[in-house]
Symmetry: C2
Subunit: 183 residues, 2 copies
């Protein structure tokens, strides 16, 4: 099929903060995988743009001259796969043996719970960047951990190995996370 001109808000969104985020590599790899899914008619997954609040628009020069990034976004990605709605948050950590829970905001968990309630597919993609391992963790398994260990401040890597699914990939689809969904 022909390449549609949807890049601006469908696949790779420019982010002036990219180079400040340690999640930048993960974002790049997921976006590349999403392009692969799109070009091969597998799924249509979009990165949510960071919400911007426009304070002033100058009609004479047709430009926004005052705006700011709103703090509260929901999750990083959403889209359609085989008719189903899916939504996930992707995070990267440099810690080798556990994932610090402070990386996930409570309103993001609430939002994913809402997706689950509406029978959508809600999950996390967690990258352990120092050991080059990436895991798919369903919201259900994430919640199981939180409920079982309400006082823990991080999820150990061993929990991901036992309850998550390690995501592999290749050059064209470096994080082939849809393989973790078996339907």
């Amino acid at each position: 099929m022909s390449r549609l001109n949807l890049n601006s808000n469908l696949l790779i969104t420019s982010n002036p903060f990219s180079y400040k985020n340690r999640g930048q590599e993960l974002e790049y790899l997921i976006n590349k995988s999403n392009i692969y899914y799109y070009q091969n008619n597998i799924a249509l997954i979009d990165k949510r743009p960071t919400p911007i609040k426009v304070v002033n628009y100058n009609y004479e020069i047709n430009k926004i001259t005052n705006a700011f990034f709103e703090k509260k976004s929901t999750t990083d990605y959403y889209g359609i796969y085989k008719g189903r709605y899916l939504d996930f948050e992707a995070k990267s950590t440099e810690i080798k043996t556990s994932f610090p829970l402070k990386n996930i905001k409570p309103h993001q968990i609430e939002y994913l719970k809402l997706i689950l309630k509406h029978q959508g597919i809600a999950f996390f993609i967690i990258m352990f960047s120092k050991i080059n391992e990436v895991y798919f963790l369903s919201l259900e398994n994430f919640n199981n951990f939180i409920n079982k260990y309400p006082n823990k401040k991080s999820i150990p890597l061993s929990f991901f190995k036992e309850n998550g699914i390690e995501i592999k990939g290749n050059v064209s689809c470096p994080i082939d996370y849809l393989k973790a969904l078996n339907f």
Copy 2:
């Protein structure tokens, strides 16, 4: 359930152009219906923010000082209903007997076709504002019209009456468009 603090990008998005658009009333009515769907756990439908391209960010004052609205958006709304992904474009016309096709951009049709290809639900909500009638028209029926009458510049109201579904509502859910989906 408690009201989540998701308003900023989930339900009502502020748009500095609202008062210039004749679609403003339709947007208000659909957003109100989406709040109803959200509050009653029926569906989670989001208005896509207009894509903004940030040109300059001033780190000293933490503000965007130069940006512009990108022309190419995809469609107005997307979301989840009973696990399914849905996507639609909403348009209003003041013409009483037909809907001018120039209101729908080719890239929007291409995008909705892509949603359909991925087994999502793709449709239009068309408001005839002068006669206070609102119609649900599936992408399939829209395409049928385009293919049958490739040279027509508008879809007559009679086509909506025969092939679409008139959408009714009430004060709390003024455009109850999910009723048109029977699954």
